[in-house]
Symmetry: C2
């Protein structure tokens, strides 16, 4: 639809040319002029594993798109117990619009590259582009679906089913086209055992035991603790309870 190429709209900012968020993320809702306006105030940021993006109850002063890496959203109890309530991957939008402070804290689970921009820039763009708000709504609804899926896992599945569900989730992130009947799939886990435990509502020991159970059963192979080979995705799925 955007075949018209006049002098003002033909240029896509350099930063954006190869950006996934422009194709599949919220920036896809913007035209070249808006993209240019956004890119003027946006900066590329690199974060090391473990870096904190926003603390709980911290003032939100900006938003970002994930260019690469994995970000975890964490909620904690006063006594220190923690639960990961969401995982975000490229090209997800990061932030909580229309709210002064965050209800979660966000941390880099791997090295992460962000395209971040100030709160006011995005909010100005929202006002002039209903398309952008539509994108945000679509992502919010997708995250809501994912959160509810995970509520079922946390509320009703046992430890083995939770770990199997987690492996399927990550396998699916690595290869979104993954079919249940497909071949072997191998990948590196983007999270430590502690992070997996915090995501599954378990302890590290239990996570470890369930992984060895799956390994002994021949469903997966584990190498150097982070590298996983799923021998039989279909069989892993039967372990996941769904």
């Amino acid at each position: 639809m955007n075949h018209r190429q006049d002098v003002h709209t033909s240029e896509v900012p350099v930063l954006c040319v190869a950006c996934e968020a422009r194709l599949r993320g919220v920036c896809g809702a913007l035209d070249a002029d808006q993209l240019m306006a956004l890119s003027k105030t946006s900066t590329k940021k690199r974060l090391e594993t473990g870096a904190e993006l926003v603390g709980d109850a911290e003032i939100i002063d900006g938003y970002a798109n994930i260019l690469s890496g994995v970000v975890k959203l964490i909620k904690g109890l006063p006594d220190g117990r923690e639960q990961i309530v969401g995982l975000q991957f490229a090209p997800d939008f990061l932030g909580r619009p229309f709210q002064a402070e965050s209800a979660v804290s966000a941390q880099a689970a791997t090295n992460v590259v962000l395209c971040s921009f100030p709160k006011r820039t995005l909010e100005a763009l929202i006002k002039q582009s209903p398309q952008l708000e539509h994108s945000l709504l679509k992502q919010a609804l997708r995250e809501l679906d994912e959160a509810r899926d995970w509520m079922l896992t946390l509320g009703r599945k046992n430890a083995l089913e939770r770990v199997a569900s987690y492996l399927l989730l990550i396998a699916n992130y690595i290869d979104p086209a993954l079919q249940p009947q497909s071949e072997v799939i191998a990948f590196d886990l983007p999270m430590s055992r502690l992070e997996i435990a915090d995501f599954l509502g378990l302890t590290i020991e239990t996570v470890s035991r369930q992984l060895t159970k799956l390994r002994v059963d021949g469903v997966i192979q584990v190498r150097q603790s982070r590298h996983i080979v799923v021998n039989n995705p279909a069989r892993l799925k039967t372990f996941s309870g769904c």
Copy 2:
């Protein structure tokens, strides 16, 4: 801001005059003309406790606003285990826009009155009213916050803390202005023990035992199993883990 009252926009449909959704729900985003268009295709429906609104994986053919009552969103596992993944109250919007089929099933937890309208009517209105989409985004983000709160409860709290959290949630729905340091608050639970268990990821027996514990500790009174008196909201909160 809508003080201008010309012939076309001054009339609010009869159905909508006393409707909470017009004030606090998504219909608040519509002007009188749009409200009139929507009300032409909308119908008031009464549902008995237990009635199913949409089944899992069922085609979504309509949306609705809750006028009164409580609706529960349920997810199930193939073997019959169930988890309630959301509770909705008036004047919440009900439905999953931009998706052919529902990922959850919805059931009336109490007697419910709905204002329901066809999918296409809403989708046409969305196209012409960015305000409406903004309302939907705001509700989706609120539901996402609630879902994440509950993930922490399901993943990290013990049985007593879960039951205490549930009572606080309901107390807060009954009296949204409830302060922790406030007086005694009494209410009827809108759900059976089984439904509470399915919401908390517990069994009915465990829910019952924790309620007894809170009663014996003098934090609450229980009458006829559904009627609860919270003697000391602040103390109940200390039991909730937050």
